[in-house]
């Protein structure tokens, strides 16, 4: 191999001479730099659009928040003016917009109308509950979906395949909130083996282990509901990905080497089939947010989703606005993460 000249990026031959070894990482980093810049810039534009649209939705389309704040009692014009000044609503729109952008970027999100507390504190307080519920649910759904999806795709058309696809579609068709209500009815009301809702019981001793067990006990039904609805999506993704690989020559080669069927599947087909699913899993993060909002609402789980729903009905506009930005931003960042990850796991992308 010569030290100079373009070497194909996917030729993973051991680099010979020292100068070549020194130059190659630089070149790859260059390509990566451009790739990274492009996607980070795209995500930044998306985030800006979220900020704009949230201001547009909540300050321009929605009417005067003073009416909502003071809905129950009569207010004098002076009180009104004072309240407007306190909330900064008497200043020109562009100034409000500027304050809002700066406030959001510095995590100063204002106070909640409902709780009369900084929204940032509310979010920090409720974030762990949401991460616990949707994180556990998502990991379970991905593992279950991929496990079954691999096997259904591998034995396409078998009774196993048809049964699992039918079961998955059936659960996928069930509305999340309804499944949650039925699960509560059966397991909490009739059988009484799990708590109806919430995250902890007030009677639990404050030590770590009793608390952890209590939370785990409360977690079972929401996670069950959430996983049941979501896993079918992953099953279908993995199944079709396996089907794309199934006729490949390298699988015939692997079989010709004398590998057992499940070895061919797990060592050769699955790694290749996993590749295209990575982005789909990250893209599905929007669905995860959707699912967690509904699941939290059914089970009164004290997370961000139920905070969002409460804020709609109060109406607590600063909270709505902050959570709208937070939910949207997290999906945009998750997709960005998927794109960056893809660079490392799929060498083909580096050529284009």
């Amino acid at each position: 191999m010569t030290a100079d000249g373009p070497t194909p990026a996917d030729a993973a031959a051991p680099s010979g001479a020292a100068p070549s070894a020194g130059r190659r990482p630089g070149r790859v980093a260059n390509g990566f730099g451009r790739y990274l810049c492009k996607h980070v810039a795209g995500a930044a534009v998306s985030l800006l659009l979220v900020l704009f649209s949230s201001f547009f939705i909540f300050r321009l389309i929605a009417g005067d928040p003073i009416d909502q704040l003071t809905k129950e009692r009569p207010v004098s014009p002076e009180e009104r003016a004072a309240l407007r000044a306190e909330l900064g609503l008497d200043r020109p729109m562009w100034e409000q917009f500027w304050d809002y952008i700066i406030g959001t970027l510095t995590m100063d999100l204002g106070d909640s109308f409902q709780y009369r507390r900084p929204i940032f504190d509310l979010i920090v307080e409720r974030l762990p509950a949401t991460i616990l519920l949707s994180g556990t649910g998502m990991v379970l759904a991905v593992l279950l979906g991929f496990w079954i999806g691999t096997r259904t795709g591998w034995r396409q058309g078998s009774r196993y395949d048809r049964g699992h696809v039918a079961a998955g579609l059936l659960l996928y068709s069930a509305p999340t909130f309804w499944l949650g209500m039925i699960v509560i009815l059966v397991f909490a009301r009739y059988l009484g083996i799990f708590p109806v809702n919430g995250m902890r019981s007030p009677s639990t001793p404050p030590q770590f282990w009793p608390q952890a067990l209590d939370i785990a006990h409360h977690l079972v039904l929401p996670v069950l509901t959430y996983t049941a609805v979501v896993y079918a999506g992953y099953l279908m993704i993995m199944r079709s990905s396996i089907l794309d690989e199934i006729g490949s020559d390298y699988l015939t080669t692997a079989r010709a080497k004398g590998l057992r069927d499940d070895q061919v599947r797990d060592r050769h087909a699955v790694p290749n089939a996993l590749l295209p699913t990575v982005t789909l899993v990250f893209l599905a993060i929007g669905g995860i947010v959707n699912g967690s909002i509904v699941t939290e609402a059914v089970f009164s789980w004290p997370g961000l989703g139920s905070l969002f729903v409460q804020a709609v009905f109060y109406p607590d506009r600063p909270v709505l606005q902050a959570l709208f930005v937070l939910f949207s931003a997290s999906t945009i960042l998750a997709v960005l993460a998927a794109e960056i990850l893809y660079w490392f796991i799929d060498p083909r992308i580096r050529k284009s």
């Binding site: 795209g42 534009v45 998306s46 659009l49 979220v50 949230s54 939705i57 909540f58 389309i61 929605a62 396409q156 395949d161 048809r162 696809v165 579609l169 059936l170 996928y172 068709s173 069930a174 509305p175 999340t176 909130f177 309804w178 499944l179 209500m181 039925i182 509560i184 009815l185 009301r189 009739y190 109806v196 089907l243 893209l283 993060i285 929007g286 669905g287 947010v289 959707n290 909002i293 509904v294 609402a297 969002f308 729903v309 709609v312 009905f313 109406p315 709505l320 959570l323 709208f324 939910f327 949207s328 999906t331 945009i332 997709v335």
Partner: protein, 310 residues
């Protein structure tokens, strides 16, 4: 071929139209045969037909007065009986009547929202793929943006500020679901675009409008039909989630709003399974029927999936 193509006389053009129609009928018959060969697709179609007939016939089967809160004849959450085959709700209305009438609103919102979303998505997809350039880039970015955003969050936020009515529900659902169609249509437009017959049309002086409506659109529509059929279930699920959260039109009865009343009035703690099961199962069946039809259509129209029948 020489340049002596005869100018289309009326008779010749009529003959050509007849030929085109015959060809269309032929390909339709082929697609139908391919569809009919799929058992799940046919089951879905029959199921869907039955549900639609019930929804249309609802006024004949049960009088609208059964929905009135003041004229309710039953007791509070009575279990199923001869008079009320599926029991009653918290004010004594028949759950069967509610579910039957609810199908009209749920289907109406789901279908209308899908039509709006698909029309927007197809228009943006074809134009952005065909025109390309600056406009195409912006259209692609915007549809990507909508695709990434969590749809329920956007829908809840918009309904919270726009107010609750059937029209806003439809607009909001359409707004969060058009982007998938755009992506699909754009990709298909780009492949059609590079085919020789489009070059021929351009060489013969076809304008953009002619190219888009006569050459690209007919090639894109089958895939649009399949994806629209798969969009209806998600629109219906979205509507039911919004209505269950309490963001539906307060003046109409849909499956989601029945379940909203059920949970607000403690149907779960009252063990009123007859109040919870019918509307939920109805949503499940409709969604399942549309998915079965949509997957079968996809298998017919998407050559990549051909040979795979579930």
């Amino acid at each position: 071929m020489t340049a002596s193509t005869p100018t289309p006389a009326p008779a010749a053009s009529a003959a050509r139209r007849r030929l085109a129609r015959a060809r269309r009928r032929q390909s339709l018959a082929r697609s139908w045969a391919a569809y009919r060969a799929q058992r799940t697709g046919m089951i879905g179609l029959v199921l869907l037909g039955a549900i639609v007939v019930l929804a249309i016939a609802a006024p004949v089967l049960v009088d609208e007065s059964a929905l009135s809160v003041t004229q309710a004849t039953g007791g509070r959450m009575e279990p199923p009986s001869a008079a009320f085959p599926l029991g009653t709700d918290e004010v004594g209305r028949s759950v069967l009547a509610l579910t039957l009438w609810g199908s009209r609103i749920s289907l109406l919102i789901g279908l209308t929202a899908t039509v709006v979303a698909v029309v927007i998505g197809t228009a943006v997809g074809v134009t952005s793929g065909h025109v390309g350039g600056w406009y195409g880039w912006v259209a692609l970015r915007v549809s990507d943006w909508f695709m990434v955003l969590p749809s329920l969050v956007v829908a809840i936020a918009l309904l919270a500020v726009l107010g609750r009515s059937m029209a806003t529900t439809i607009i909001v659902i359409a707004l969060v679901s058009w982007s998938g169609t755009t992506r699909l249509v754009r990709a298909q437009t780009l492949t059609v675009q590079s085919r020789p017959y489009l070059e021929r049309a351009r060489a013969l002086g076809a304008g953009h409008w002619h190219q888009m409506t006569k050459h690209i659109l007919p090639n894109v529509l089958p895939l649009v039909l399949a994806s629209a059929t798969l969009l209806v279930p998600s629109a219906i699920l979205m509507e039911s989630s919004l209505a269950w959260l309490g963001l539906g039109d307060p003046n109409v009865v849909s499956w989601g709003s029945i379940l909203n009343r059920a949970s607000d009035n403690g149907a779960v703690s009252a063990h009123a399974w007859w109040y919870l099961l019918p509307p939920g199962l109805a949503i499940l069946l409709v969604v399942l029927a549309f998915m079965m039809c949509g997957r079968a259509l996809e298998a017919v129209f998407n050559p990549r999936l051909r040979g795979e029948s579930a």
